[in-house]
Amino acid sequence: MYNPDLPLEVRVVDKIRETPSIFTLHLEFTDPDIDLEYRCQPGQYNMLYLYGVGEVPISIVSDPEHRGPLEHTIRSVGRVTRGLDRLRVGERIGLRGPYGRGWPIREAEGRDVVIVTGGLGCAPVVSMIRYVLRRRERFGRLVIMQGVKHTDELIWRKQYEQWQRLPNTQVLLSSDISGPNWPFSVGKVTVLFNQARLNTRKSIVMLCGPEMMMKASIERLLALDMPPEAIWLSIERNMQCGINHCGHCQVGPHFVCQDGPVFHYPELAPWLGVTGF
């Protein structure tokens, strides 16, 4: 019987603490053959299974074509993620995936890639950023705009600072509330749009983060003449099966687990920010 629900065993080969509540797991299949076969796209996710507790959908942050452990950055908020936070290197968990639609890599080729993220929602775009950076010649400018509520919410600050120094790359950061040692902007992520040198004719925009922040950002982008067709976004819902069956992740007609988590903005526009969907 082919059982699409059946997880595969993976081993924790490294664990990195990003903040007190955010950590990154590096995972490797214990069966080397699977390790060779496994393919994913930036923006896709895996279902991670903690023995005896349950499964959670977690986006993949590693570069899909980079052979090496799969990286998952996780925030410990629920039963399963708090348990995953207690894992040690060498321990084993279950994994199935990759699932869902990732970022539109083909459409992005040759264009400026504009990334807008808010809060802690940056994990789903990190694999895309890494993807672009590893194949720099295939893309135009890379503009990364990240907004956080408090300055201490910014994870991967070093990485942002590194990216900032790369040619043809613009990194803009803002925090709703300023704090010590914050040389960046203050305000919502949308304040950064004026500083970003956006060429609306040849850009593709990828957003992720709180839906209200994405909605506000998209309104601003549209006001700046960004065509709606150039906008993509990744959203989150309760997902238990990952394979279009359990029904929890529906947003209007869409099953986020398979039709998303990355959506073309025109598909999602009627539903974005509508309370209850």
Binding site: N3, H245, G276
Partner: protein
Amino acid sequence: MDTQYAFLPRNALDQLLDALRKAGFDRLVGPIARDGAIVYDTLTSAAQLPHGYRDEQAPGRYRLHQADSGRCFSWANGTQTLKPLTFAPQEVLWHCERDAEGCLRFKNPTVNHSPTAVIGVRACDLVALRLQERHFLGGRFHDPHYGARRESLFLLAVHCTHPAKTCFCASTGDGPKAAIGFDIALSELDEGFILEAGSLRGGELIRTLALDDATERQRELAKTEIETAALQQSRSLPSQNLREALYARLEDRHWDKIGMRCLSCGNCTAVCPTCFCHAEHSVPTLDGTQTTHQRQWDSCFTAVHSYMGHFLVREETRLRYRQWLSHKLASWHDQYGRSGCVGCGRCITWCPSGIDLTAEVAALTRQETSHV
């Protein structure tokens, strides 16, 4: 396949059950009157069928009566659907063993469903079965658990002649005549049954009974009874496609009114033959060496259905009812090419608050769109 209509005398009903057993269907499931309702249970003889029972259904009301009739299918559906036989209320998805070194071994469950013949399936439930097949078997991921259960079933339908007041299958186009998905369909007459095959194996089974053909008169009578059953239905939906109408009214004030009456109990989703939502759980053994991962029916009326760790997508009842109805009657069209309601009326009968979706749709669509 030429449709053959054979006549089975009333006193020969047990021969049909025997023939099913001989054909390998060890388990027979059929309607039985028990605890004041028609329920589906294991059937050993035709005598157990609910002879002479009639039902009375209304919003929030179900009563069973004995009537002066020898017929055994003179009632409309009770709470139960075919659904538990294919989409089980609880299903083991896999097992996992953990050894002393912490290595995990994931295993498929052992599956062995005994071949089962179900007697008395109604038109609406057959269409609902088709819809669930599309969901569990027709997408990118084939659900082997559902598939194995579905394959074990042989379905004997009964064309409906006694719709309840809550039925509206005629308006959804899904009944009262069983049109798809059965192996054999029965028409009940006072003197017996007309049998018609819907599949090759159904035809073979009928042939083993060596019956006479049904007469022209018998077939006319059966046809008239089904047509009358359609005409008797008093409830209806205004259209078989309410997608645009409901999408245009998602912010209508009427949802608040329903939200004040709805108890968010989930009865409607439990009895609905097309609802497919389920939650997944891991159940470890006490010694911690094994765990069973299973799914269980869930409902969009529960709070956890839309749980997101730090918030609920649908905190308020009105939003849950809107999710349910707009999924069933609107977004189902986007997902599966038709409405997700087959007009069985169960959600009306079994709603403790007597909420009637046909009335709610009428209220929503009667008025011009009124925004909050």
